[in-house]
């Protein structure tokens, strides 16, 4: 099973690639809405991509109030 750090790293890489932001500009505690410049609709798109990438199901109510990559990674890690 992969580590929490690996999960976090994969999220950052996926988000950087999809939203065309340099990977080195993203840090674990960033507010991804601000850093990626996305609205809630694009956040849903990111959620779907993460579900496919990690082969998990993430009920959106579990992500309520989550806006940083580190907490997002913790939620995903809990379902791996």
């Amino acid at each position: 099973m992969q580590t929490a750090d690996q999960t976090l790293d994969e999220i950052l890489s996926l988000a950087a690639a999809h939203f065309k932001v340099p990977r080195e500009k993203l840090t674990p505690d960033d507010d991804f809405f601000k850093t990626l410049g996305i609205d809630s609709l694009q956040a849903l798109d990111l959620l779907t991509r993460l579900e496919h990438h990690f082969h998990v199901e993430l009920p959106d109510y579990e992500l309520q109030g989550v806006s940083d990559f580190r907490t997002l990674a913790e939620r995903i890690q809990a379902r791996l």
Partner: protein
């Protein structure tokens, strides 16, 4: 009218296949304009059905298939009226959209929803009237109505019950959570999941296959396996209108309509 270009939607007929395209910004919200044009389409469908074997419904809007009812329009129109008049207006809207949905549901041709992105609320309900749902892998489905103090009002509950086990229906309705195309296929809502941007292509391929079959046989098969739950659809309108009169709905609509987020879909 074989081809029509409207403000919210357009349709084209070609070689037995009708393609209904939704193209109203931002994500095909169904308000009074879309309803009027859907009624025009339903009327045209009565003529086109004799020379057609398939209908494909899809969206040209990038964010998705359809984000559901136009809640901002609903909020703006209802806040200017007495509660009883607003509820009467909602009932009239629901009666009209149900007539359209029922016509598409019962149409004597094979209907395919080719969906991508946001397929929420009334958009999900529009997909559910179709015989087949073909989903882009990035499609996302949701019945968010309970967040507003409502239930789905365009026929969603009876049609979900028709297609799925009751335990799954309860999960989707009572949690209001969204789910992806893979999950939708696992629970039996979606018949094909395809790569990003490929839903319409796959729907056209499916329609071409459907066109090879004898129409009378296909119609008989559809009538046998896809009953329309008219009684429950009527009950759904009543429940929706009863709930709409409650104060919680006004507060929920206000919160949605006044959200500063460009697309306040996240719960």
């Amino acid at each position: 009218m074989n081809n029509h270009h409207g403000k919210a939607l357009s349709w084209e007929w070609n070689d037995g296949v009708i393609e209904l395209a939704l193209h109203r910004e931002p994500c095909n919200e169904i308000g009074s304009l879309a309803l009027q044009e859907l009624e025009e389409f339903a009327s045209a469908l009565q003529d086109l059905r004799y020379e057609s074997h398939s209908l494909i419904v899809y969206s040209r809007q990038k964010p998705g298939f359809c984000a559901g009812a136009d809640l901002r329009e609903l909020y703006e129109s209802s806040r200017r009226m007495e509660k009883s008049a607003a509820t009467a207006g909602v009932r009239d809207f629901l009666e009209r959209i149900h007539r359209v949905m029922n016509i598409i549901d019962a149409a004597p041709l094979t209907t395919i929803a080719a969906v991508h992105g946001v397929t929420f609320g009334g958009g999900f309900e529009l997909a559910l009237v179709c015989d087949l749902i073909i989903a882009d892998k990035m499609a996302r489905f949701c019945f968010p109505e309970l967040r507003l103090g409502l239930v789905p009002g365009f026929g969603g509950i009876p049609r979900l019950k028709r297609d799925l086990g009751n335990a799954v229906v309860r999960d989707l309705l009572l949690t209001g959570r969204s789910f992806n195309a893979t999950k939708a296929q696992q629970i039996g809502l979606v018949s094909q999941v395809v790569a990003e941007g490929q839903a319409l292509r796959a729907a056209r391929g499916t329609a071409a296959q459907i066109g090879k079959f004898d129409r009378r046989t296909a119609i008989a098969a559809k009538e046998f396996i896809k009953p329309i739950p008219y009684e429950e659809l009527r009950r759904e309108i009543d429940i929706f209108c009863e709930l709409f009169a409650q104060p919680a709905v006004e507060a929920g609509l206000k919160k949605f309509a006044e959200s500063t987020d460009a697309q306040p879909y996240l719960p």
